[in-house]
């Protein structure tokens, strides 16, 4: 007879994996959005503000309209607007994208906290979950297999983006814009338009990532909800060396690991919890130092990011 006992350790593993999937979702969206932006040769440091704006918008719209899907769409739309604003400002002559990104963090979080203050509703309608574990008796395993549709969508976006970069004319042009803007311009590619479109779509993705924070269990809005994930995902893209599929893998690994902090601590890894969290960044730095030189640059880095400064 199949009892919960016979699942034993396997059940715990599945439960842990389920937690990892949930924790990785904001990272997946923000890192994919940032990857798209950086492929065009721009850095969007403002993802933290956009993530918060997405989270607040999704909550507010879902709460007011009763439809979490409308909330999701609104979050993507608002994220895209912020991306458009950022892209518009950084395309102006003499504007530094790093500074503009930090201004966006302050502006986005300010607006999110301002309007979020009024949404005292304890819970907004949440996105439904896809139940992959129907009929499984073990409660823990069953809970772990209740997957947010955003997770499935995120995987699809990662593969789609990979395909777009590698196999489409638009992707080729975008990479050319990011690698060598002058060469791209001389080929007749609309450099500015590619950068604006990439930054806008990238920010819309971050908005969707934000909606996961408020439209999934426990489904509440608070000012500390992002916990710096928007900033960390920017660094995660560097760790993933500007590849959408590696962004997906890195998000699963490190977003998941962070979500699992409590269970890791109970497993005795607590002693190095923070060092573990920073390990992708340390590893990336070491990797960059080893693989760069004055004449060589990091594998996969868009050229106009490598040459700056």
């Amino acid at each position: 007879m199949q009892s919960s006992d016979s699942l034993g350790n396997l059940g715990i593993l599945v439960a842990i994996a389920g937690g990892a999937l949930r924790g990785s979702i904001p990272y997946i969206y923000v890192s994919l959005g940032e990857c798209l932006t950086e492929k065009s040769g721009r850095i969007n440091l403002g993802m933290e503000g956009i993530l918060l704006m997405g989270a607040m918008t999704a909550f507010a719209v879902s709460d007011q309209s009763g439809s979490p899907w409308l909330g999701l769409l609104a979050a993507a739309f608002v994220g895209g607007l912020f991306g458009l604003l950022l892209a518009g400002i950084t395309e102006l002559p003499g504007v530094n994208d790093v500074a503009a990104g930090i201004a966006m963090i302050i502006f986005g979080s300010g607006l999110a906290f301002f309007f979020g203050k009024q949404f005292v509703a304890p819970m907004a309608p949440q996105l439904p979950v896809i139940d992959f574990g129907q009929g499984i008796a073990n409660a823990g395993v069953h809970a772990a297999l209740r997957i947010s549709p955003l997770f499935v969508l995120g995987i699809a976006v990662a593969f789609l983006m990979h395909f777009a970069f590698e196999r489409t004319r638009w992707g080729l042009h975008l990479r050319a814009v990011g690698d060598a803007p002058d060469a791209a311009r001389s080929m007749g590619i609309a450099v500015r338009r590619h950068r604006v479109v990439a930054t806008t779509i990238g920010a819309a993705l971050a908005g969707i990532g934000g909606s996961h924070l408020t439209l999934y269990f426990p489904g509440i809005w608070s000012e500390g909800i992002s916990g710096g994930q928007g900033l960390m995902a920017v660094a995660l893209v560097i760790f993933a060396r500007w590849s959408p599929l590696r962004c997906l893998a890195a998000s699963l690994l490190f977003g998941g690991a962070q979500a699992l902090g409590p269970s890791l601590q109970s497993a005795g890894i607590s002693g190095f919890y923070h060092v573990f969290n920073a390990s992708p960044y340390l590893l990336t730095l070491v990797l960059m130092v080893l693989s760069c030189s004055r004449t060589r640059r990091l594998d996969g880095i868009p050229g106009s990011l490598a040459r700056r400064g």
Binding site: P93, N96, F107, Y281, R294
Partner: protein, 358 residues
């Protein structure tokens, strides 16, 4: 500097701040508050009284130091965003040095903290600057990564080896005895961190504008190839600029530990480093402008709470104002060299203008 550039130096900030005030007024009106009243409250809370001035100056002090942290390397041609990391490791090192010397006289203990904070913070940014110069690693990226590494280091040590067992819910190092903390300027609530900030800005200005070394540094930042051709030691210049910038951020961390919290904990990473990057860009990397911008921004930051009390607006209102101001000031950079039509309006038509246009 031509009169046209002089005119722009005044006109562009005026246009930018005017735009920000207009947008913020629209925002206030949109959410049902009186724009004039809110702006007046921000001013009163920032500069309306000696008490308000002290609040503003307290918040300006770390911004000055963190602004220099980006500006000094930027003058040498290296853009870094590692202020927060350097701030945090500087504070951590200062706490460690302070706790190790509490048995000595207070001044010695503070000197040890000062040195530890400055040296460790300096090394932190020097690493990013050096990696860019010697290994071609983009310093924006490496210093961004160093921020997370620095913060993780702080959390790890504060929750592990350096933890005070009595700090139960909020892990922190042992506290420094009150006698060994950084004191206040007599007759005020302002700690000596403000003196560090002002002196650092003035020194920075003097170094850049009045010394040969500063001239070399600016040549290196302006045109690295030319600097090399005339035989400037480019590597040493870049490393020194990185070290001095990082030392300022580390010092800001030391002040945060020695004057405000009295111990190191997660609380010292309050985002001053990130705001410092903006301060540097808004000041166009000039130390004297950093002094002014930090003061204005300190006043704006200090007014957050008062809007809640007087207008029943959330604290975050002030972040909206800041965000709008930053974005319009940054966007206004695009106006440089495009205000010719305004210059013509303000100056009598003369042969001089006609000549300039030829």
């Amino acid at each position: 500097m031509t009169s046209e550039q002089n005119f722009e130096g005044v006109a562009i900030p005026v246009i930018a701040i005017g735009t920000a005030l207009l947008l913020f007024s629209l925002f206030c009106a949109g959410v049902g508050a009186s724009p004039g009243g809110v702006l007046a409250s921000i001013y009163t809370a920032g500069f309306g009284s000696w008490y308000a001035w002290q609040n503003s100056l307290l918040r300006a002090a770390p911004l000055m130091l963190c602004g220099l942290a980006t500006a000094l390397p930027a003058q040498a041609g290296v853009i870094t965003v590692g202020n927060e990391g350097a701030f945090v490791v500087g504070g951590l090192a200062a706490a460690a040095a302070g706790l190790a010397t509490t048995s000595g006289p207070p001044l010695l203990c503070l000197a040890a903290m000062f040195l530890a904070g400055a040296v460790v913070g300096g090394a932190w940014i020097m690493l990013a600057a050096g990696l860019q110069y010697y290994r071609g690693v983009n310093a924006v990226i490496s210093s961004l990564l160093l921020n997370y590494i620095g913060i993780a280091l702080l959390l790890q040590l504060v929750e592990g080896p350096m933890r005070d067992p009595d700090s139960l819910n909020f892990p922190a190092t042992f506290p420094l005895p009150l006698s060994h903390q950084l004191g206040r300027i007599p007759g005020t609530r302002i700690h000596y961190g403000l003196v560090f900030g002002v002196v650092a800005c003035l020194l920075g200005w003097f170094l850049l504008e009045r010394t040969v070394w500063g001239m070399k540094l600016k040549i290196a930042g302006g045109n690295a190839r030319a600097a090399k051709l005339v035989g400037l030691p480019l590597g040493r210049i870049v490393l020194t600029a990185g070290f001095l910038g990082g030392a300022c951020a580390g010092l800001a961390g030391m002040v945060e530990v020695a004057a405000i919290h009295g111990r190191a904990s997660q609380a010292i990473s309050a985002g001053y480093g990130y705001v410092g990057i903006l301060v540097a860009f808004l000041s166009r990397q000039s130390p004297l402008r950093i002094l002014v911008v930090s003061l204005i921004l300190g006043a704006v930051l200090a007014s957050g709470g008062s809007l809640q009390r007087t207008h029943d607006l959330p604290d975050a209102t002030i972040n909206v104002f800041e965000g709008l101001a930053f974005l319009s000031i940054l966007a206004s950079e695009a106006l440089a060299g495009r205000l010719g039509f305004l210059t013509a309006l303000f100056k009598p038509v003369s042969t001089e203008v006609a000549d300039a246009k030829l």
